[in-house]
Amino acid sequence: DAGITQSPRHKVTETGTPVTLRCHQTENHRYMYWYRQDPGHGLRLIHYSYGVKDTDKGEVSDGYSVSRSKTEDFLLTLESATSSQTSVYFCAISESGAEYGYTFGSGTRLTVV
């Protein structure tokens, strides 16, 4: 996925441990998003950012925090991982919000055991 990379691609962690997922973009886009995708559900927004240090909650933000100290990096932290947070996490970027298409990363498959 040109211009946006997520790391790690896969992670297994234990319940109760903190986990940080990283999203890096080279497109200089203003908006960045973190989603989770679970079977039978549409993508659900966790948090999003509309600029450096400007972030807001999505519909499933409980248990997650984010930070954006640079335009290119958007970090998602699970403060204390739970089994319900086992999911595939996608980062996305957009130039100008929902008016234009989003570009997604390849995802991080997180398993909490």
Binding site: G42, L45, G58, F90, A92, G101, Y102, T103, F104, S106
Partner: protein, 113 residues
């Protein structure tokens, strides 16, 4: 409650035929509706965006319609090919979510040779 519905059953289409996927929504007045393609293990890829004042949008073999009276969008792939097999997601913006995208769960399309 607010819903976006896509057919959860896989759609099987013979190669060369037109595939038509449906996205229905309730209780929204979206300004934009978007369609994405997602392959297994990959992030969604933006295909087309249609605005509320547009009835139809085309891109190569793809066509999207948007009927705000029926609260429905149709996504057509003409002259379908096995390489078109994927899951297709629709998403629309929502004023109550600060215009962030709300996503359907997707329809899996299988094109048989």
């Amino acid at each position: 409650s607010q819903k976006i519905e896509q057919n959860s059953e896989a759609l099987n289409i013979q190669e060369g035929k037109t595939a038509t996927l449906t996205c229905n929504y309730t209780n929204y007045s979206p300004a934009y509706l978007q369609w994405y393609r997602q392959d297994p293990g990959r992030g969604p890829v933006f295909l087309l965006l249609i605005r509320e004042n547009e009835k139809e949008k085309r891109k190569e073999r793809l066509k999207v319609t948007f009927d705000t009276t029926l609260k429905q969008s149709l996504f057509h792939i003409t002259a379908s090919q096995p390489a078109d097999s994927a899951t297709y997601l629709c998403a629309l913006d929502h004023v109550d979510s600060n215009y962030q995208l709300i996503w359907g769960a997707g329809t899996k399309l299988i094109i048989k040779p």
